[in-house]
Amino acid sequence: MNMQTTMTNKPEKPVHLNPWRRWSWLIWLILVAGVYTWAITGLHFTGLQESAGSVSKSIVHGLVNPDWAYVYNGSGEDLVSLIIQTLAIALLGTFVSALISVPFAFWAARGEHEWGHLRSGSGKIVLTLIRTFPEIVLAIMFIKAVGPGSYAGVLAVSIHSIGMLGKLFSEAIENMDRGAEEAIVSAGGNSPQVFMLATIPTIMPEFISYTLYRFEIAVRSASILGMVGAGGIGTPMIFAIQTRAWSRVGIILLGIVVMVLLIDTLSEQLRKRLI
């Protein structure tokens, strides 16, 4: 018997990538280059102002020598009082928002037997619209309704946060473990009992954790809402910048940095213990 040890038929021609795959990098390159050319040529750069040098110098000087007298003077308009006010806006806004977000979350969560995702789809669209609506504009609208001050800030934070909390909550509902619910159903529980004894205890740690995370973000936004008059540390900040009181700006910046770092650390510790 004649064993064939050498390969007689040569392999076919190597498979070439089709031209699209082969040249796609070039198309991407041209696209990206086009986008950047558009972006760079479209902007009118103002360049440095003549005073930029001296302004930067006085900013640095102010930041290095903060106005320590402003930290606490008992007037209720000092740094510590306003930082506490900022935290109060964030806390109250986040809490109210977490309560309102729960029904939104159940609306937007995709159900297993849902036909065509009409309900959850519409909920997701509403949440996206709320998320995209600028918080600053909301704050200005609420200032028209309740006057300038931290109440408008609370309202702005509580409405704007629904967009993100509702989305996170609804995703938590979609991914939750259905075991406890099924157990209560098979033991003969009715739907309020299933909800109270299975759904809420299963979902609660995640809800609280997301709410804490959102609180961290709310602290940052509450500290700038004051720039349009919605209370908190932002109001003296924008005054100090407009009047070029850089040592005042320096101490407020320092206050905000310390506040944000503290809240982030605290909330991170709490979240670690939750999950």
Binding site: A88, V146, S150, V257
Partner: protein, 264 residues
């Protein structure tokens, strides 16, 4: 045979000391906050007609305003693209230095991370207000604000990605004596490129949202027109601007979501 001892709840468990304590703390904080902020539910509803009046005026957008805001909308997107890019360029070396699997010097890593943490605490509008004072009113201040903002965010996202890479290729190259730069170029970059681009697009989305309001403080883009219409009480124009912002944000989100799906 003795009966097994029934587990007893401790005193604090029986009276739910922990739960009651946390609830009491939360209630105290909430009551204190509402006193501090002067929340008055009645006032909101007594002034509700003013609020609905505003909404009614906003529900009649002045469509003739659309052509005027096209150019600032472009400017907003251009600011976001440039800001994100500049921020990313500066973020990459910092991300490499902050990654615990590439840099073994704990001190260097700690200092770099501290700087990044500090940068991330600064709210974007606050940066915008300061840069408007330095660079004057215009898009330069906006680009620089967005660059710093994305620098803080991207460097954190990037170093977390770098820390998850497979160390095999790195060890292989190290054992044949490759230099640090060669290792980063041939062993680190190919593993993280896709995720880098994905995070870059994600940051771009956030920056487009942010850049729409930066102009409120004079940092260029559509926000300038937003501020103008609000201060002139031209709420029909405000409505057009907000709708335009919604469209832009959704288009950018759609494009970037599509690109990310293609990449990953």
């Amino acid at each position: 045979m003795t009966t097994p001892e029934i587990p007893q709840r401790s005193w604090s468990q029986r009276w739910h000391v922990k739960g009651v304590g946390w609830t009491a703390l939360l209630v105290a904080l909430l009551v204190g906050s509402s006193k501090m902020t002067g929340v008055d539910v009645g006032m909101f509803f007594s002034n509700f007609d003013q609020f609905t009046n505003l909404l009614v005026r906003m529900s009649q957008p002045a469509w003739s305003y659309v052509p005027i805001i096209i150019q600032p909308l472009y400017e907003t997107i251009q600011m976001a693209i440039l800001g994100t890019t500049i921020g990313t360029v500066f973020a990459v070396p910092f991300a490499v230095l902050a990654a615990s699997n590439l840099v073994h010097n704990q001190w260097l890593r700690g200092i770099i991370r501290l700087i990044l943490d500090l940068v991330r605490t600064l709210p974007d509008l606050l940066l915008a207000a300061i840069f408007v004072a330095i660079f004057g009113i215009g898009s330069t201040a906006g680009v620089i604000t967005l660059a710093i903002f994305s620098f803080g965010m991207i460097s954190k996202l990037f170093y977390e990605v770098i820390e998850t890479i497979d160390m095999g290729p790195l060890e292989a190259m190290e054992s044949v004596g490759a230099s640090k730069v060669t290792i980063i170029w041939y062993a680190v970059l190919p593993q993280i490129m896709n995720q880098f681009v994905s995070y870059f697009l994600y940051t771009l989305e956030i920056n487009v949202r942010a850049s729409t309001v930066l102009g409120y403080l004079g940092a260029g883009g559509i926000g300038v027109f937003l501020q103008r219409s609000l201060s002139e009480f031209d709420y029909n124009k405000t409505a057009v601007i907000i709708l335009a912002m919604l469209v832009v944000v959704m288009v950018i989100d759609g494009v970037s979501n599509h690109l990310r799906r293609v990449l990953l």
